[in-house]
Symmetry: D2
Amino acid sequence: MASESDGAARVAWIRSRMPLLARARVDFAESRPFDGLKLGMSLHIEPKTAVLLEVLAAGGAEVVATGNHGSTQDDIVAFLRDSGMTVFGRRDDSLEQHERNVRAVVDSTPDLLLDNGADLAAGVLAAGTAGTVTGGTEETTSGGLRLRGELAGAIPFPTIVINDSPLKAIGENRHGVGQSVVESVMRITNLMIPGRRFVVAGYGWCGRGIAQYLRAFGGRVAVAEIDELKAFEAALDGYRVAPLTELAEWGEFFITATGHPGVLGPDVLELLPDGAVLANAGHFPWEIDTDALRAMAHTVTEVDAAIDRFDLPDGRGIVLLAGGRMVNLAGREPKGNSLEAMDLGFLLQTLSLERVATRADTLSPGPQAVPDDIEREIARRFVASMGASR
Amino acid sequence: MASESDGAARVAWIRSRMPLLARARVDFAESRPFDGLKLGMSLHIEPKTAVLLEVLAAGGAEVVATGNHGSTQDDIVAFLRDSGMTVFGRRDDSLEQHERNVRAVVDSTPDLLLDNGADLAAGVLAAGTAGTVTGGTEETTSGGLRLRGELAGAIPFPTIVINDSPLKAIGENRHGVGQSVVESVMRITNLMIPGRRFVVAGYGWCGRGIAQYLRAFGGRVAVAEIDELKAFEAALDGYRVAPLTELAEWGEFFITATGHPGVLGPDVLELLPDGAVLANAGHFPWEIDTDALRAMAHTVTEVDAAIDRFDLPDGRGIVLLAGGRMVNLAGREPKGNSLEAMDLGFLLQTLSLERVATRADTLSPGPQAVPDDIEREIARRFVASMGASR
Amino acid sequence: MASESDGAARVAWIRSRMPLLARARVDFAESRPFDGLKLGMSLHIEPKTAVLLEVLAAGGAEVVATGNHGSTQDDIVAFLRDSGMTVFGRRDDSLEQHERNVRAVVDSTPDLLLDNGADLAAGVLAAGTAGTVTGGTEETTSGGLRLRGELAGAIPFPTIVINDSPLKAIGENRHGVGQSVVESVMRITNLMIPGRRFVVAGYGWCGRGIAQYLRAFGGRVAVAEIDELKAFEAALDGYRVAPLTELAEWGEFFITATGHPGVLGPDVLELLPDGAVLANAGHFPWEIDTDALRAMAHTVTEVDAAIDRFDLPDGRGIVLLAGGRMVNLAGREPKGNSLEAMDLGFLLQTLSLERVATRADTLSPGPQAVPDDIEREIARRFVASMGASR
Amino acid sequence: MASESDGAARVAWIRSRMPLLARARVDFAESRPFDGLKLGMSLHIEPKTAVLLEVLAAGGAEVVATGNHGSTQDDIVAFLRDSGMTVFGRRDDSLEQHERNVRAVVDSTPDLLLDNGADLAAGVLAAGTAGTVTGGTEETTSGGLRLRGELAGAIPFPTIVINDSPLKAIGENRHGVGQSVVESVMRITNLMIPGRRFVVAGYGWCGRGIAQYLRAFGGRVAVAEIDELKAFEAALDGYRVAPLTELAEWGEFFITATGHPGVLGPDVLELLPDGAVLANAGHFPWEIDTDALRAMAHTVTEVDAAIDRFDLPDGRGIVLLAGGRMVNLAGREPKGNSLEAMDLGFLLQTLSLERVATRADTLSPGPQAVPDDIEREIARRFVASMGASR
């Protein structure tokens, strides 16, 4: 049996399960939309990203890239350099070194930006080189908020915010996050789902998915939601709907997906039963008030990977998963979103960058949603790639 | 055992299962928002409507009402007259008589209109009395379209279009219609659902509900949808997704919910297998091309209530339910939407009319959505009335 | 449009949706297993039974039949007589006349019995003609109990008890009853299912189906079950599981499917909330203690077809469906089990009678289960008739 | 934060989530059913087993134990020795050393056997010491087959076969395996479930669970089953049902759970589409014919942990998970059955051993099912421990 353990082999497997990017690569090799353009990227460097960058390079882009702090995979960096790209950074970089890496990408004066957290956008503004940028994309919601907040009005080029996409709301938030949260709770805790009592805080796209998949797995699910219309939807979807303080004594698992800080605060924590398991699915690690929990506990014990038990003076032990960070990225060997979900998200990136490169005149300056025709084209290709008609 | 068979008894039972209207009635008896105002109504006259009118009358309204052509229930008319209201019309009225009834309501110069199909709105415009109207509500989507189409700009008073409500999309279209269609197909045909192959045309709110409940009942469901984003949603919801012509030979039941005419046209009809069952859930009876079907058949036989079989020269027999009209209002003893769904919809009417009567200054002239604060207030009351927190 | 309103037309439609019987009819027309044999039948006379009898007659049987008391459909009697069968009875028969009808079938000295409730078996014993009977089938569980109880050892010929079949447990009890109960509750009450709180008493095949389909329709379901192993199954299936007295205040709908008398007795009735709806799905009308309920009430009002409200001195109104009889056979226009479920059950009858007629030597005297090879043959045909492989 | 990384800490966490064993430990500390008895064990040595052994020791048993070949966890061995038990074996043992370990347990002349695969039973027979054994339990189905096959009639003492239990069929096979297979396929492959096409071979308890949970997660599921009655059940449960050769071209994932060898043999393998993913959930690694697959391939590549791709001369790549061994025990960090499922299974062990130790007179010699009263007692305790009544 041949064995492939390096970056090239990992990328080969993943590339084989991303058919949308594969087709774009073939198309771009012919149309060469990025010929003569330099693309600056700031995004996690892992095998899926490598497949994305291959496609952009096939379209003629000269790639200059860096990763996020602490998540860069060194064998993938090696693979990308072997492919002729310029890549800054390694896993062990200090924060200072990481910032130098971002600046190095900015200093390469890219024509196109593939950004996350608006790091490159802020960089070119600071460097005074924003005028030489044709346009770009922004991967994250938090980057979108920054572009519309502190940077509002300052960006002279179009930036397509990928996470605004309705395809991502359904494909990634509802189904992707919904399933990976259920899978992760099982994988990390080894506890049973059917017949267990779950409280899901928040009934947005992620919360809808989490509640749906927990119930599908036999869980008994209650929803806490302060928005009246979403609470109405949850009640008709057949869930018990009540405030967290009413559900605190009933639940055995509590999962937050609200986007708001302090959702599981002292008022709820003090009511939880012994053995309650807490997990967060929201982007920021602030939904569970871990400071309050720590202050209540006399002892905190790491009982297994990504599992801490907080022993309280009243005898209760409260179990916190992943320290309150995103539970579906925690524990040993988390894999994150499915390959298909990333194939979808990266095709949004790919076709948006093509639009910026070839028809920037049809876009206005500043942050904006993915053009509707791109959404529809990708929806069509995704359904076809699923063989949904069979 | 006491027996009640007249209008009063039927209304009593239904009133007892409409808790939102019951509470509004108590509130209005105190606040009297309609004191001194005349309310003209044009809406189906059946027991649920009677409960609505009682609430408005309790709020001080002088009610002048008529029904729709052919659906007026005479014992309810009697009951309403006993309650002191002015009601025009009876079940056997000719179309001419019905039109006279509508005109009689218009001629009473009402201050408020509770309209459907924009009949009263068009009436006051034609009569030149629109200027004396404070405002009103419109129950139906088709009335809303008329107000925004042929009557656009002509209406000088605010009209709140109830069917635009997101509460109705979820409560009535997704869940109400979804379930009543499944119930009606079973009730009318006496056929089995589990393991049967269903094709649902259209994945809007109604189609989503129909597909969901058919699958929940063990049906194998495929979806046909031309909108790319909805097709994407259906595919990730786990349905087979393909064009109707591809599904025609596979399906056993075909249910339309698209809003478009001729969806099941000759190209699909000629491919259907022997015994295929066709039903429509859309508002208009045009989604199944019954003229084409009739033209193809050498014999049409009514085999049971609301079931016709079309025998074709090639030996196939195609089964049409309800003549292509709304299947969930067909057959013997259809009951229409659930009492709770009507309680919801009529509270939207009630609070919207109160807003028109008491704070018309906060509204603009012409058709408009239900004010957001009313939506939220009703969502809150509905969830509470369900006891969802228990 | 041609209209068919008589027995022949109704039978034609139903025959067209019973493909298993259709195939048996073709087979029997060739093999003639009943040539020269007289078949005595005692079973509900309605269109589905007519299709069964046609098959037996096609196999050469001389049919002598009567119905059950009060359910005979006169147009079907006429249709059967036109087909050359001897049929006793009409809808309006007195109980005495009905008993004379059964005796007339017995007195015709049939070779084969198609029995229900063991009426014909008891009849031939009483008449001293049991020795001339080759064998027969028994449709019902209660007939099977009688054959194994008061008649144990007395029957000198083989009787195959159809209701023992595992195919019927799954096809009819789990799926057929499960769905028709949900459909009937909706049809009779016009109340909403999603988000409502249901208590299902009993987690046998019927209870499993009822709970499954109520939850599938968005209901919140709790199960009461005294058998520990079934309670365990229900809990892992994700239901709340508790004694009825604990669930009494929580539930809104209570549905019994236990097979035991007095399940909803005074101890539970006194705890029910105002407006609670009670229905029974068990064969006998004894699971809800209607005598106790009547004794508690100061007034009983029939508020709609198959809906009675019992007003209690403490102000509560309790709603009883179908007087505590089988709810899925109640109300206006109940259709009973699906045509496919009857096709299945009647093919069990048909092939069992063929076995009795042609290979009685392979059977022992007295009541017995359907031979395993017949079960498997029918399972195979049913799956094929569903087109399950498509 | 205190950190516990050794055996004691891992056992502490797991012990805290096994409430049934915790209660048995308290009971046994009082009743001491095993006082003066030596217990010989042959079972995987991992943290859950340690919790079981603690309970038996608390009941007075002198424990002499060994593990299975290759799965012994050394830190747990150390923990058990610290607790005063005699344990033979370590992870790195050769097969010869493992056999010596089993013999060492046999040579200790235990009074009670806690066996798997009938290794100890065969051992005491070979050693001629079977006459000194009071009785025992057997964990596995394959051990039960051996006791009823090659060893039939030879065992002079009662052996309770745990895996025959209906509680295990539902709790472990349907729900436990069903869920862990879905979780494992996601964890190992990082592929999407919703909308994907799955073929499940076998509709026994495991297959029912796998099909149910795949569909619950949005998968489109077909079932292949040669037993007619199970195929009927699957069809009414709403699955496509067809032979594997018909489904081979349609499926994307193929999961076996039949108990039979060669289910995915050359006839199916040659029809699979490019990229098909194969996994086995059955106990033995023989359901997928990996020899045939290997013979067809020109190259086999390990593309990730527990993922091999077989490249065939016709250009197809077939993906095999876990080398055809149980997929839910494969990949990085598999955790096996849930803690609750093991709590259930080990309480069956515990109370069965108590019955053997204290009332062997009520049992017959040889293999037998768990006594019904123990099943019911455990069902009751399990439902109570779930808080199912809340």
